[in-house]
Amino acid sequence: MFSLKRQTPGEVAFGILNGLLMLIICFLTLYPIWYVLVNAFNDGADAMRGGIYWIPREFSLENFRAVFRSEGIMTAMGVTVAKTLVGVPVHVLFTAMVAYAVSRRELIGRNLYMIIGTITMFFGGGLIPYYLLIRDLGLLDNFLVYIIPAAFSFFDLIIFLSFFREIPAGLEEAARIDGANDLTIFTRVIIPVSMPVVATIALFHGVYQWNDYFTGMIYINNTDLQPIQTFLYRVVAQSSSNQMLGAMPSGVTQTVTSQSLKLATMVVTTAPIVCVYPFLQKYFVKGFMVGSLKG
């Protein structure tokens, strides 16, 4: 990088130790996940004996086959996929739309709208008043409880806002001369040039939708509407293997245990997100920078 031709022995030693430290951190990060992975790919009954640390002892796909054959798990998985696929576009478009409106200087009432939003970042009603609101809106045991209350976030609005401010005004002017109204400018001009920030917020909200178990736990009683994370919470935290056994499809081989089924479900649940985020890394690092330095 810079002119660093000469390094003192001390600096060389520092470089090596530092590299080693980074390797250790990477190992400590990955190993717990690896451990789950090898145990999920191992024969369930055999895994009960323990001692599987590096590679599966008796490689088996039975656990995963059981996951995909279990009706309970698949229903919950479907709810998670549905709420993510619907929730992300709604959240991103709605929040971006409001952000675009308040990003325009000529908007009458702009300062008032910003104050109304800023207050919500530092003060709120709390769990019970919010619960009562959800109840009164008829959102209990309703799929829309995953979508509407999550459709907007003022924090994300600020990230959008700082991105929109950087867009050259000329782009909008050209569209306006062509007779486009503000909504058309937003959908046809602003959104297409804002893909980095759209990808960032989509990832953040996608992770939220995918990983949230609390909403499903307190607002949903109907098990057909519970997402996979809520299902897993009931299995993991309440350590009731009953629900896991209940989810066991009939006719699976005896070697699948409730523990191995749980591990395989965890792997299946996590895999999609882990496969997506490295590709969005360059966007969210940038989005993070813009959002938090100005926020």
Binding site: N18, P32, V36, G109, P129, L157, A237
Partner: protein
């Protein structure tokens, strides 16, 4: 523009006033799309943020689910008084502040240190991979991590196997069932999950430091550590300050997702934090008014702490949120 003169003219001729009114209406009309877009957002906030804020009044009532909110009798500060004489008060304060302060003391500086050290790695490839790998745990949900921890920390889990084989312990310990291990589990697992992710913002701040500063320092004969201490660290001080203010404003917020997953009856004594107590009294015991009162005390103190931290850092190094 002189507002005084303007007002004078308006008072003198009502015609000019209605003219202005018309002009204003025309402006609103010309930005009708923008107004609708913005007001939809405001309407959402009124419903999902401000109605619950109004709902706080039940903290001053004895609200029963059977009757509507407006029919509930006023009880003044009774709910607040009850919390101050509640047996759980001390436990809740001890756990909330204990966990948060340790997180602040250990968990806050670690990502800064990690970012500084990662920045010293020469190989771009190695750096990129380390970043990608350390971001990974952030994307796991607490439910999944709870599952991993339960597997690792169980009496037949890997931690017990290692400690038994090293003769550190004589008999397996069920860590999640013993209050004395709970705080350590919370803090270590939190660091494991968020170390890399929390470092992103510092890495971003470091990358915007001008390379000329480093070149000049190299010519002056500064070593790597000197540059780290005298250039990199001061350059990211503003970012550190702002995140510190926010962290102080957050000390009463426990990571509820995390607590809920790892908490159980056996470790309750060390794991009942304010947020959990609000949840338990409210949604499990159905004491709506009491729970809301507890949460209001928390919100008010948290807001006060945030403003204090903002004030102090403004005085100290001129960095602040507002």
């Amino acid at each position: 523009m002189e507002p005084g003169a303007q007002a004078g003219i308006e008072a003198a001729s009502p015609k000019a006033g209605s003219e202005r009114w018309k002009k204003w209406l025309r402006r609103i009309y010309s930005q009708r799309y923008l107004q609708v877009m913005a007001l939809l957002g405001v309407a959402w906030m009124v419903v999902f943020n401000y109605i619950p804020m109004y709902g706080i009044i039940i903290a001053f009532k004895e609200y029963d689910i059977i009757f509507p909110m407006s029919m509930a009798p006023w009880v003044g500060l009774d709910n607040f008084r009850e919390f101050l004489s509640d047996d759980m008060l001390l436990t809740v304060i001890k756990n909330t502040l204990g966990i948060s302060l340790i997180k602040l003391i250990i968990g806050f500086p670690l990502p800064i240190l990690f970012a500084l050290l990662l920045n010293e790695v020469r190989s771009v490839m190695f750096k990129r991979w380390t970043q990608t790998i350390t971001y990974l745990p952030h994307f796991l949900s607490w439910v999944i991590l709870g599952g991993i921890l339960a597997t690792w920390l169980s009496d037949v889990g890997i931690i017990n196997k290692i400690l038994l084989s090293l003769n550190v312990i004589d008999a397996p310990i069920t860590y999640l069932a013993e209050p004395k291990y709970f705080w350590s589990i919370i803090i270590v697992s939190d660091i494991w999950k968020e170390l890399g992710w929390s470092a992103i913002i510092y890495l971003a701040a470091i990358s915007s430091v001008s390379p000329e500063l480093y070149e000049a320092a190299t010519i002056d004969g500064a070593g790597r550590l000197q540059k780290m201490r005298n250039i990199t660290l001061p350059s990211i001080m503003g970012t550190i300050t702002i995140l510190f203010i926010l962290a102080v404003g957050n000390v009463l917020n426990s990571n509820f997702d995390q607590i809920l997953v790892l908490r159980n009856q056996l470790n309750a004594e060390a794991s009942t934090v304010i947020d959990y107590y609000v949840y338990q009294t409210g949604l499990i015991d159905n004491r709506f008014s009491y729970s809301t009162a507890v949460n209001l005390i928390k919100s008010v103190i948290a807001l006060f702490l945030l403003l204090m931290a903002n004030f102090v850092t403004k005085k100290l190094n001129n960095n602040s949120l507002f």
